[in-house]
């Protein structure tokens, strides 16, 4: 069985942050299964390393497989992205009313994001590989990707 490791787990391990003990316990609990990541996760974590090789060596130590040939499945991603956009609401912290972010230069409506969040590609990658994900961002993934099992 394969398990996708979200960047939040890897960054927590590599930085030994306040979530480190929890990340370590999760990795130990599931280490007999195959951990995998795709290029989105690799790049997010790679930002903190000086070279690909340095990160690859550390991933190898943790037995994490880097799947470079991931192809996004649009029929999984797009309906969920639409739901996300529909649910995305902004509220004024003063009056509490729903509002719309406006560009300070041209006054355009900024309600819709220009780019799809990498979370959607990561969830799709997990779905394509058996549907198991290790992440610290459990609420977000549970809300939008009911097909994925968030391991605890």
């Amino acid at each position: 069985m394969k398990i996708v490791l979200d960047s939040s787990i890897l960054l927590s391990i590599f930085s030994r942050d306040t979530l480190y003990e929890s990340s370590k316990s999760l990795l130990i609990k599931y280490h007999n299964q195959q951990f995998i990541i795709n290029s989105f996760i690799f790049l997010e974590v790679r930002m903190f390393f000086s070279s690909d090789d340095e990160l690859l060596r550390k991933l190898q130590k943790l037995d994490v497989e880097y799947e470079k040939n991931y192809i996004p499945n649009s029929s999984f991603i797009i309906p969920k992205w639409r739901t996300y956009l529909k649910n995305k609401q902004y509220f004024c912290p003063v009056c509490g009313r729903e509002t719309t972010p406006i560009c300070s230069h041209c006054n355009s409506d900024l309600r819709f994001r220009q780019r799809i969040l990498s979370d959607f590609f990561i969830a799709d990658f997990a779905f394509q590989n058996g549907g198991q994900l290790l992440t610290h961002d459990r609420g977000f993934f549970r809300n939008y990707f009911s097909e994925i099992t968030i391991l605890e």
Binding site: S8, L10, L11, I13, S15, D17, T18, K61, D137
Partner: protein, 78 residues
Amino acid sequence: MMNKIIAFRLNPKRAALLKKAQKKFKGKNISQIIEKALENLLLSDEEFEKRIEEVAGSITLPKGHDALKEIRQIRGRE
């Protein structure tokens, strides 16, 4: 212990698995690849924890950030 040679019959499924293991474990020969694969499979919790400790603390996040906050910011959700 004396070295012994064992026979391993290759069928298509085993050949494919061996090829995958060769790619993953990068051994010099088949014996080494099988050794690494078995070691990996049977790695104890303590040994794996040691590996985690070896890579822990190799990067620094911006002050006041944990991994979750950092990732949410990278992804533009915060």
